[in-house]
Amino acid sequence: MIEEGRLATLTEEAAIARPRDAIRPSSLATIDRVFRFASYACTLLVLLVLLGIIGSMVYGGWPAFREFGFLGFLSSSTWDVNNDQYGAWPAVAGTLASAGLALLIGVPISLGIAVYLTQLSPGWLKGPVSTAIELLAAVPSIIYGMWGLFVFAPLFARFVQVPVSNVVEGLPIVGTLLYARVPSGVGILTAGIILALMIIPFIASVTRDMLDQIPTVLRESAYGIGCTTWEVVRHVLVPQAGVSIIGAIMLGLGRALGETMAVTFVVGNANRLSGSIFDPGSTIASRIANEFNEAIGMQLNALIALGCILFLVTFAVLIVARILVSRVKVH
């Protein structure tokens, strides 16, 4: 595997001349040091990128935080470009609502897929189905956006929004929550559904790997005392992999919070906050994507401040997720 010929002659010649340098000729030592330093520097660069992201968010968002106050900016609902008044709440609420809906829809489906792949699927089907699920993760988010806007939204408006709105109209609570003033198909719930489809492959494949790591003996002994598949899943697999499944779900949440393009297509991009999940709204990421290129002055700072809030939330979620997932691997 090494270039043996060259190394052999090198050592022979050097051994005759200077025994000490035979083992480590100075040019080799220099290469060695340079290589080690280069790889060390690249490792530090990865650290620096994260610090740079934090730094640029805080630096760019600082004027907005100073002008409106952190809590004032977070809780205010005005987004008035003409009067330079900015508040984050509609975007923050939209982000949390769409990501929450995505988890609500996506988690049961992902866990179902993981259980199917590890427990139920016949051997010949396992490979193709896992490939299909993993390819779902490779589809770019802009494609999900186009599919959501041009294919899913019209169907959703016709077969869900209009009938449901007709049923719940006038009722308390659900009448507000599920009533679409303009049944166009786009809105917070549509964004949630598209996000659910996007996070399913991540949650499903991490959960599948975790379930695969559980020793087969445990499963077999549970089947041996007469458990049904459901009981094995409920009483053996879930307790064994519980923490890491929560980690996988939070990994999915981290993705859902920061997803930009797909959401921008289907969320409707309304600046106001509505009580209904059928109505258009906006998320932090979609607002940045929509307004950033035309923004100047305080609006630019307010948008970066929004990015700063997104950063804080996403990274907190991702850190917890990684800790939960890695803690199980150690055991």
Partner: protein
């Protein structure tokens, strides 16, 4: 593992269901149905998306997509030639920056750092960067490069893509180097080769297919990224400048702008671009998966 699924169907058929309480039977059947339906939903959605892309994309794909530049508003025809070339350049730039950084950092984690404090911290941060929102990376590069340099440029776009690609390469490189048996390294060291030589001539060579897979995966990841390019490379309906300053046309942002436009020929081009980009990315992922399977089984 392989014997279990094969053996289960026969035992299942012999289970005397009469002795199992109905609630248990019901719970079990419900779970099985739920799992099968979930999997069917996942596969169905993939099929639906690909089917839609193939239908819409193939009907609007024609040779002029590759030969003509993007049409102006309201004008007929036109193609995506400048966007395709721009995308290739940006992706290549991103990979060219990310590959040395990613491979070296992955090498440090696997060969030098191992369990040191720095390696642990960087590993953790790399995992977080792996799923960081790409729009924030766009904002970061905007403040880092676009603002100081006074305008959008392809270089900023390349750096933004490189930041997204690096964690993927770091992770795969480290994982693949860890699969190289230690005895190989020891054999090299026993011959008197210094660590750098051992790594370059033994570890890297043994893990070559795996490292290439990581680079392919990173390419698949950045080829479709739109959000980080919005504020860095922007877009351009004409041929971009050869020094890459000013907006550089690229496929993802073009798809975004054209898909939401009112002109039918723009929308058609958006579908054609979407098909091109998806086929490229899925192709890269399939090749990468094939390579990694071969590597691990070896």
């Amino acid at each position: 593992m392989t014997t279990v699924p094969a053996a289960r169907p026969t035992t299942e058929a012999e289970i005397p269901w009469g002795r199992v309480r109905p609630q248990r039977q019901l719970a079990d059947k419900t779970m099985k149905v739920v799992c099968i339906v979930s999997t069917a939903i996942g596969v169905f959605v993939l099929g639906w998306i690909l089917g839609m892309l193939a239908w819409q994309g193939l009907t609007s794909l024609s040779p002029r997509v590759f030969t003509q530049v993007m049409p102006g508003p309201g004008s007929e025809g036109g193609g995506l030639a400048n966007a395709i070339v721009g995308s290739l350049i940006l992706t290549f730039l991103g990979i060219a920056v990310a590959t040395p950084v990613g491979v070296l950092a992955g090498t440090y984690l696997a060969e030098y750092g191992k369990t040191s404090k720095l390696a642990e911290v960087v590993r953790f941060i790399n995992d977080i960067l792996l799923s960081a929102p790409s729009i924030l990376i766009g904002l970061f590069v905007y403040t880092l490069m676009v603002q100081p340099m006074g305008g959008y440029s392809g270089w900023a776009g390349g750096v933004a893509l490189a930041i997204i690609a690096t964690p993927v390469i770091v992770r795969t490189t480290e994982d693949m180097l860890r699969l190289v048996p230690n005895t190989l390294r020891e054999a090299g060291a026993a011959l008197g080769a210094p660590p750098a030589h051992v790594i370059i001539n033994i570890s890297w060579r043994a893990a070559r297919a795996g490292i290439v897979t990581g680079i392919l995966l990173a390419m698949a990841r950045i080829a479709g990224e739109t959000a980080p390019l919005l504020f860095t490379a922007l877009n351009n309906t004409f041929w971009f400048r050869p020094d890459l300053f000013g907006g550089v046309s690229n496929l993802p942002v073009t798809i975004y702008q054209f898909a939401l436009s009112p002109y039918p020929n723009w929308q058609e081009l958006a579908w054609a671009g979407a098909l091109l980009i998806t086929v490229t990315i899925l192709g890269l992922s399939v090749v990468a998966r094939f390579l990694i399977k071969k590597e691990v089984s070896r």
